[in-house]
């Protein structure tokens, strides 16, 4: 038996609970407060070159942190190494040079994909790379006949990247092909001596070596990359299978990168950019201010026509097995607005 007082109390309690439930049901529906993004760790592949500056900026200016990302910057020795590390999942995100290795790897089942555009040869901006020669040699090269048989020094990577397409384009203007010249792979530091000693006639160099070589030897830019391949896409940003699958994290990483690209776009006019890039590359701040900062798309959209042209060239050179469809190597979900 329940005592009458207790029974009344129970009824009142039930009524109160019912009222609360009704009130709650009638209350306007509000979206739940956005849960703070959990910090996620990602591994980012970098090299001490200007094309990687947005990663350094994203790290030091706090763009990664703002998107709840704790990025570990891992220095790689070459872009080829970065491609294999992306495909193996040892890196989550990286900037890599467009090379046959990437496309051959994807064709053989490598699961990394390009998601954003990196450095581009903008014809309306300074040339971040090109062919340089000493003034006397440069004067001789005004005559197309003098291009045949010349020795071109390249960096140790050689001409397997967009630089191969660029040099082939320069030679095509002279009615020649790569078979008509000799290429010599050189450590960048040996380029200056090789030019001065006449061991090479022309050097294919990128920043900061372009500025260094010009300053040290008085060499001049014979032809810049944007002249031959305007808007040529030199690099792309790749995601590992992990970031491709975890698209929410991938979008955060891409957003952080694109915000950093916006700051990068201010170039050396932004003192923080100079300070950050000098810190990661150990270059003199004066040199960092002097060099040409290559263009990068603010929306992250890569020039895929240029990528297709590169693939066709690489296949013709026997460096790549086949031309890949865009959907095979590119995932457009991560580009900005």
């Amino acid at each position: 038996m329940v005592a009458p007082d207790r029974s009344r109390l129970l009824k009142r309690l039930c009524l109160a609970v019912l009222l609360v439930i009704l009130l709650a049901a009638c209350a306007p529906v509000k979206p739940p407060a956005a849960a703070p993004e959990a910090t996620a760790k990602i591994k980012v592949g970098v090299q001490p070159f200007i094309g990687y500056a947005p990663f350094f900026i994203a790290q030091d200016a706090g763009y990664f942190a703002r998107h709840g990302i704790e990025a570990e910057l891992i220095e790689s020795k070459s872009s080829d190494e970065i491609v294999t590390q992306l495909m193996q999942g040892d890196l989550d995100m990286a900037n890599f040079a467009i090379t046959p290795g990437f496309f051959n790897g994807v064709a053989k089942g490598g699961t990394a994909k390009a998601v954003l555009g990196g450095s581009r040869w903008d014809p309306n901006q300074c040339a971040p790379s090109g062919l340089v020669a000493l003034p006397q040699q440069a004067a001789q090269l005004k005559d197309p006949a003098n291009w045949k048989g010349i020795k071109i020094g390249t960096d140790p990577v050689g001409l397997q990247s967009m630089y191969g397409l660029f040099v082939a384009g320069v030679l095509k203007q002279q009615g020649l092909t790569l078979a008509d010249i000799e290429t010599v792979r050189l450590p960048p530091a040996a380029t200056i001596d090789a030019l001065e000693s006449g061991a090479i006639n022309v050097a294919q160099v990128n920043e900061p070596w372009l500025t260094r070589v010009k300053d040290k030897t008085g060499a001049i830019l014979v032809v810049g990359t944007p002249e031959i391949a305007p808007n040529g896409q030199l690099t792309m940003i790749g995601f590992s299978p992990r970031l491709l699958q975890d698209s929410e994290l991938g979008k955060r990483a891409a957003a952080a990168f694109l915000e950093a690209v916006k700051q990068y776009g201010e170039g050396s006019a932004n003192a923080q950019n100079v300070e950050i890039f000098a810190k990661y590359t150990k270059l003199e701040p004066a040199l960092v201010k002097q060099i040409c900062w290559p263009a990068m798309p603010l929306d992250g959209i890569a020039n895929l026509d240029s990528v297709a042209a590169f693939q066709a060239w690489a296949v013709a050179q026997g460096l790549q097995d086949r031309v890949l469809e865009q959907s095979e190597y590119w995932d457009g979900r991560f580009v900005g607005e």
């Binding site: 080829d80 491609v83 294999t84 495909m87 193996q88 090379t99 046959p100 290795g101 990437f102 051959n104 790897g105 053989k108 089942g109 490598g110 020094g153 140790p156 990577v157 050689g158 397997q160 290429t183 010599v184 792979r185 050189l186 450590p187 530091a189 040996a190 001596d193 090789a194 000693s197 061991a199 090479i200 460096l319 790549q320």
Partner: protein, 244 residues
């Protein structure tokens, strides 16, 4: 063999990435294709030419200086500090300097290979001469052996086993550096082929070229062992008796 079969099965079953660890059958097929096309033959030719030139240059200098350092305490006192300082330097680290001194052509590559081949032969030859006991020297001199005669009849035969060991060490070290130099700065050769295969992610070609390098190493060592047996017949007998 069991490991190869396991590798083949794992690659076919996609248990390992065929991109980085292609099946041995795919590697062998690539090896055959590269051989038929002549790619491997040309690349091996370049590598062997550089290796031979470096070995001849570095080996000959190492041998002569080694004999001198073993024979003469004055020469040893003069050269030993330099040898002790330069020998431990990783020879590849000298590449930028060698490029500046000898230019970017074949000369710089051969110099670096020669430098690598030089030290093992120098050190072993010095040790070979120094291990000749005082009694042997004394007897030889007592019988009137001097100069060339002493070198030919006493020093050379007595130091030969260690000289040949030095030659084997020189060969192996020189092969490693030859491939490494080609990886870094050559357009032709086995090292350059590996580099291109790596750059284009044609890993089957990389493994196929590694097979050739292994074969070059094995065959060169075999030639040296044969040479050793011919020059030192007693060593062959010792080995067959199980004493060496």
């Amino acid at each position: 063999m069991a490991a190869l079969v396991a590798w083949e099965l794992a690659a076919r079953a996609d248990m390992i990435s065929p991109l980085f660890f292609p099946a041995p059958s795919a590697i062998l097929a690539t090896f055959w294709r590269m051989l038929i096309r002549g790619e491997l033959v040309v690349a091996t030719g370049y590598t062997l030419a550089r290796l031979s030139a470096g070995l001849l240059l570095g080996g000959a200098l190492g041998l002569v200086l080694g004999l001198l350092m073993g024979w003469s305490s004055a020469a040893r006192a003069l050269a030993e500090p330099v040898v002790a300082a330069v020998h431990p330097l990783p020879k590849l680290a000298l590449l930028p300097l060698v490029l500046i001194l000898f230019g970017i052509g074949e000369q710089s590559k051969v110099v670096l290979i020669a430098l690598t081949a030089f030290f093992p032969l120098l050190i072993n030859t010095t040790a070979g001469v120094r291990q000749i006991d005082a009694h042997t020297w004394e007897v030889a001199r007592h019988y009137g052996a001097r100069g060339w005669m002493l070198l030919r009849r006493v020093v050379w035969p007595a130091s030969l086993p260690l000289v040949l060991t030095g030659a084997q060490l020189s060969l192996n070290a020189a092969l490693v550096v030859t491939v490494a130099v080609e990886l870094l700065s050559a357009q032709q050769g086995l090292g350059a082929t590996i580099w291109l295969a790596w750059q284009t992610l044609r890993t089957e070609e990389m493994y196929a070229t590694l097979i050739v390098i292994a074969l070059v190493g094995m065959l060169s060592n075999l030639v040296l062992v044969r040479l050793e047996h011919r020059l030192i017949p007693r060593k062959r007998k010792d080995e067959s008796d199980g004493r060496a």
